[in-house]
């Protein structure tokens, strides 16, 4: 939940509803007497959760990155040693490469297919049933999705290979060969997430007033011209948000790989999150795993920042 909206918050100033009464006088009025202690009681659970399970772990995660920590013994401070090790760790760099490869395929496919789907839906049907069908994969667990697709992509008996062979092709080792592992995992990811993204974009399309298109039509613009000149620019804020969320989500992909390939064959699909997990829970090297988490976090912040900047710069050009 929090992930799916990570990009939404910073853009919004702490909104002040128009109905909020002026601050000082109201605080002293009889109706608001005693608000203070009641408020703290009401936010107490959230505050405890925030401090104990969000703030403390974040700070601790940063701290652990600079320690040697194997869970059973207390952490010992080793400065930048983990990061030095990381720079020299070829598996880390290949994991990073695999992750970027995955993110590029998965996110670009998700964006293209969901924009196309949302636009087509918007043009030809209002049916909630069809939108419901498209969103079905969002409802099921990634584990379920990964299990079904590992059956359908099975080299011997999977229906996809059966069809490929029926058309005269050779059986493809979708999840067991080096070259196909990441594209296959990316496809499963797209299958799972495309509908959700498409529905968000669809909702964005519905906010564009029809008059805009009428005006465009009067000016003699064709469908495709209107799509590229009107729809996409008007959708830019939502597309930016959806893009950022998808990138953040894809960088942290774990479930599909965990169920289908376990990072293999020979690290070909060993995405960063998988490597972090195996370092932490396979080798109990929590300090090193934390350092990699912190690095991934830093990468995410930089990418998010760049995306926001680039997309916003474009926005001001068209306005």
């Amino acid at each position: 939940m929090s992930l799916s909206t990570a990009g939404a918050a910073p853009k919004r100033p702490p909104a002040t509803g128009p109905k909020r009464p002026p601050r000082r006088p109201a605080a002293n009025s009889p109706a608001h007497r005693g608000d203070g202690w009641l408020a703290w009681i009401l936010i107490a659970p959230a505050m405890i959760g925030f401090l104990v399970f969000a703030v403390y772990p974040t700070l601790r995660g940063v701290y652990l990155s600079f320690t040697e920590f194997r869970v059973l013994t207390p952490p010992t401070w080793i400065g930048l040693e983990n990061f030095r090790e990381m720079f020299a760790d070829s598996v880390f760099w290949s994991s990073l490469g695999v992750t970027v490869y995955f993110v590029v395929i998965a996110v670009s496919l998700t964006m293209i297919v969901s924009i196309a789907t949302a636009a087509v839906l918007h043009r030809i049907t209002e049916s909630t049933v069809i939108r419901g069908l498209i969103i079905l994969p969002f409802l099921i667990s990634t584990v379920v999705a990964a299990t079904v697709w590992s059956w359908m992509l099975d080299t011997q008996l999977g229906i996809v290979n059966v069809v490929v062979q029926a058309f005269g092709g050779d059986g493809v080792q979708f999840l067991t060969s080096r070259e196909w592992a990441i594209p296959s995992v990316a496809f499963i990811h797209v299958w799972k997430n495309m509908g959700y993204t498409a529905i968000i974009i669809f909702a964005g399309l519905q906010t564009i007033p029809p008059q805009v298109y009428e005006a465009g039509r009067i000016d003699g613009a064709g469908e495709s011209k209107m799509f590229f000149r009107l729809t996409l620019p008007l959708l830019r804020p939502i597309l930016a948000l959806v893009l950022v969320l998808n990138v953040i989500g894809a960088f942290q992909m774990f479930d599909i790989v965990s169920v289908t390939t376990k990072g293999g064959p020979a690290n070909a699909s060993n995405v960063l999150q998988m490597y972090i997990y195996s370092k932490a829970f396979g080798q109990f090297d929590f300090g090193y795993a934390s350092a990699m988490s912190l690095s991934l976090f830093a990468i995410l912040i930089i990418i998010t920042f760049l995306q926001m900047r680039l997309l916003r710069a474009n926005e001001s050009e068209t306005d």
């Binding site: 992930l3 509803g17 652990l64 789907t117 079905l136 299990t147 079904v148 968000i200 169920v259």
Partner: protein, 295 residues
Amino acid sequence: MRTRRRLSPARAAAWTYLALIIFVTVFPFYWILRTALSDNFALMAEPSSVLPVDFTLGAFERVLGLATPEESLAAGGSGASLELGPYLVNSIVYATVSTALIVFFSTIAAYAFARLQWRGRDLVFSLFLSALMVPGILTLLPNFVLVKELGLLNTFAGMILPGALFSAFNIFFLRQFMLGLSTETEEAALLDGAGRLRVLFRITLPMSSGPVITLSILGFIGMWNDYFWPLLVTSDETVQPLTLALAVFKQSSPQSQPDWAGLMAATLVAALPMLVLFMVFGRRIVNSIGFTGLK
């Protein structure tokens, strides 16, 4: 644009595209059902049959623990006994309790931010919002260590607690909604001498039932499908949810001849509650996803 009904080539192409997308989206669900209702050995002989091969409910009997290990082995099962029953109960407990707690705690916190006047309110609110920026990747490992130190590994408390108290998104979402509500009824009740808590639970909460239900459904879906966190903090069937059982079952299947029929039956059991939820709340889910994206 909705008035043009003739089937131009462009519209035909659009419908074809949509049909293709829907086919790719829905086909795996049918394939789950088709495989789950097949005999595992017969599957090998007829991998392309569109209908179930040698129709049988054997796969469901295997995964629901209704078949003996011998029967299960004979039918191509892994022999490793899998009874989804306990995991199903665990998933229900985990998803229900987590969702109920987080929605309740978010609602009362949102009320404090939307309606009460207190020092530090805006500061606390922006601090809470900053939590949206930190992705799970940074907190997962330290939270695991914390739960371990609290002695809560492999317990429902350890599984539920970290996500049950605080959700920046829920609080933000509900606060925005409450700020948009008319305060007239509430103020009238306050003037009549009703206490703040009474107003919260008797007036504001019922008026917010729409977003509360939306957040509950989305929360329940998320928790039901959760995999990574339970994977970290649980180790056996006393607390593990279905997603973990499924993953373990998949990995324990022999590489040469997995019990695909059994796996698909288990998959169906894991997905079924979500599909039922979808039948009941489909329209609300579709609309709320669009809405949460815009918020």
